[in-house]
């Protein structure tokens, strides 16, 4: 049990360090695309430690408690994530639905503290975040249910090993599902077409408007670990997990870089455009994929 908890913390720490370095590298890549030099690769570390060293004002105990709850919830979620086939923390709790529950704790913590700050812009940002979540969760769950039915298990390691044994990833077997899940991944990460909930210049950063100093540093750490959880989920579900750590790092790097490059050439949707886009285009694609995968299994033979 103690070994499991320590391994869990190790996984969370590894995810934080890897994702923060990757954030700096992707900022450099985007800067080179725009014909300028970018920041150093460890710039995100400097940002987070600078934020942790500033004194900020607090708006009461709900404000501080929400941030700590968000950060704690996310570290607990990351502890369950298997990294490769052999590095995992808790063998019995390796289930997809745990992530669905526990990511909500992080969101809830941020919503609680943002509404405790009393700024109306924070409330607008939180409302938009929950609306976006409503939009992208439905197609994503449809696709993941198809995968779980097909693989026969809802454990992430089980799904990854099923892909490795069959020799074909779900990216190739369910191509429409892959496209749907990729776009939902962009929504989950809060990247450019669906960036309405942060909206840096429009809402003055949405829910993060009243934070400064240490609370903002903790929120940044929470955001990095959330990105790690979501991209790892995508790698395990669609790209076949990983046998060893280098393959995992390579797949993670490719997925995150493609997501970053796609998001940097797009503008930002309005919130009603986000919901209409997901329900008009993405959900029918997910339904078609589900229908083809479940009922027409092997009709071409």
């Amino acid at each position: 049990m103690m070994v499991g908890i320590l391994t869990g913390f190790g996984v969370a720490l590894f995810g934080f360090v890897w994702q923060t370095s990757l954030g700096g590298i992707s900022r450099k890549v985007v800067a080179r695309l725009q014909k300028r030099y970018g920041p150093k690769w460890y710039q995100e570390f400097l940002d987070i430690f600078k934020l942790l060293s500033k004194r900020a004002t607090s708006h009461g105990w709900i404000f501080d408690l929400g941030v700590i709850m968000a950060l704690g919830g996310i570290i607990a979620t990351a502890a369950f994530m298997p990294v490769t086939n052999d590095i995992f923390a808790f063998a019995d709790f390796d289930n997809f639905f745990i992530y669905v529950y526990l990511i909500a704790v992080g969101m809830l913590g941020m919503a609680m503290s943002a509404s405790g700050s009393g700024n109306p812009l924070a409330s607008i940002g939180v409302m938009r975040a929950l609306t976006t979540m409503l939009a992208y969760e439905v197609p994503f769950m449809v696709i993941v249910m198809v995968i779980i039915k097909h693989a026969g298990t809802s454990s992430l390691r089980g799904i990854a090993m099923a892909q490795q044994d069959a020799g074909m990833w779900y990216m190739v077997a369910l191509p429409l599902g892959f496209i749907v899940a990729f776009i939902c991944l962009l929504g989950m990460l809060g990247k450019k077409p669906f960036e309405t909930y942060i909206a840096p210049a429009e809402l003055a950063s949405g829910p993060m408007v009243e934070y400064g100093g240490k609370q903002l540093g903790m929120l940044f750490i929470m955001h990095e670990i959330t990105v790690f959880i979501e991209v790892s989920l995508f790698v395990h579900l669609f790209l076949g997990g990983a046998e060893n750590i280098f393959v995992f790092l390579l797949k993670y790097f490719v997925v995150y870089s493609v997501a970053n490059l796609v998001s940097n050439v797009n503008g930002r949707f309005k919130i009603d455009q986000v919901v209409v886009f997901f329900y008009k285009w993405i959900l029918p694609l997910a339904m078609i994929q589900a229908f083809v995968a479940l009922y027409m299994n092997g009709w071409w033979n």
């Binding site: 300028r36 950063s205 408007v209």
Partner: protein, 192 residues
């Protein structure tokens, strides 16, 4: 030769430990400055060239930030009328410490070409403490980058202590503000 096993180990005193923590903090703070671009006057037009391709500001670690609570540096670009100065003082007092101010253009130094106007203040550091100025009307973009690097080296040498001066000499700053502004509370139709 004395072996180190028996010679007394020097323990750092409390001031030295504090100073070392503060130095580490200064390293992080000077390499990742987030700016709140309070673009009060015409000098604000010198900021986009400093942010985009040719004179890239992001490689120094600086970037724009949306609210005063999240920013470290308040860039006061251009002339300040009385109305704007009241709101700048509000904004400055909302920022989290440690915080720095950079004054852009000649209008913050001595009034610039608006020195004989009845609504433009002449000297910015009577009202809020300024760490460094960038002179010019407008300053050249290389001068802007030079100003930022000067700010970073001031932080390194621990001379950028405007926020401490504001706290220590608060009555003097307040007296100056009330002398020139009348009162610092913002009374307009939208705040009643």
């Amino acid at each position: 030769m004395e072996s180190t096993k028996f010679s007394p180990i020097t323990k750092l005193s409390k001031e030295e430990v504090d100073r070392k923590w503060w130095e580490i903090g200064d390293f992080f703070r000077r390499n990742s400055l987030w700016m709140l671009m309070y673009c009060t006057g015409c000098c604000a037009i010198e900021l986009p060239p400093a942010m985009t391709s040719a004179y890239d500001m992001e490689r120094l670690g600086m970037g724009p930030m949306a609210t005063p609570r999240q920013a470290d540096v308040l860039l006061v670009t251009g002339y300040l009328s009385l109305k704007t100065l009241r709101r700048v003082i509000y904004t400055y007092e909302q920022m989290s410490e440690p915080k720095y101010i950079v004054g852009f253009g000649s209008c913050t130094i001595n009034g610039g070409i608006y020195h004989d106007s009845h609504v433009v203040i002449n000297q910015l550091d009577q009202y809020i403490p300024v760490d460094t100025y960038v002179a010019g009307c407008m300053p050249n973009t290389e001068a802007v980058m030079n100003g930022f690097i000067d700010l970073m080296s001031l932080i390194k040498n621990k001379k950028a202590d405007g926020w401490k001066r504001y706290k220590e000499n608060y009555e003097w700053y307040k007296k100056n503000q009330i002398d020139s502004l009348g009162e610092v509370q913002v009374h307009d139709e939208y705040h009643q």
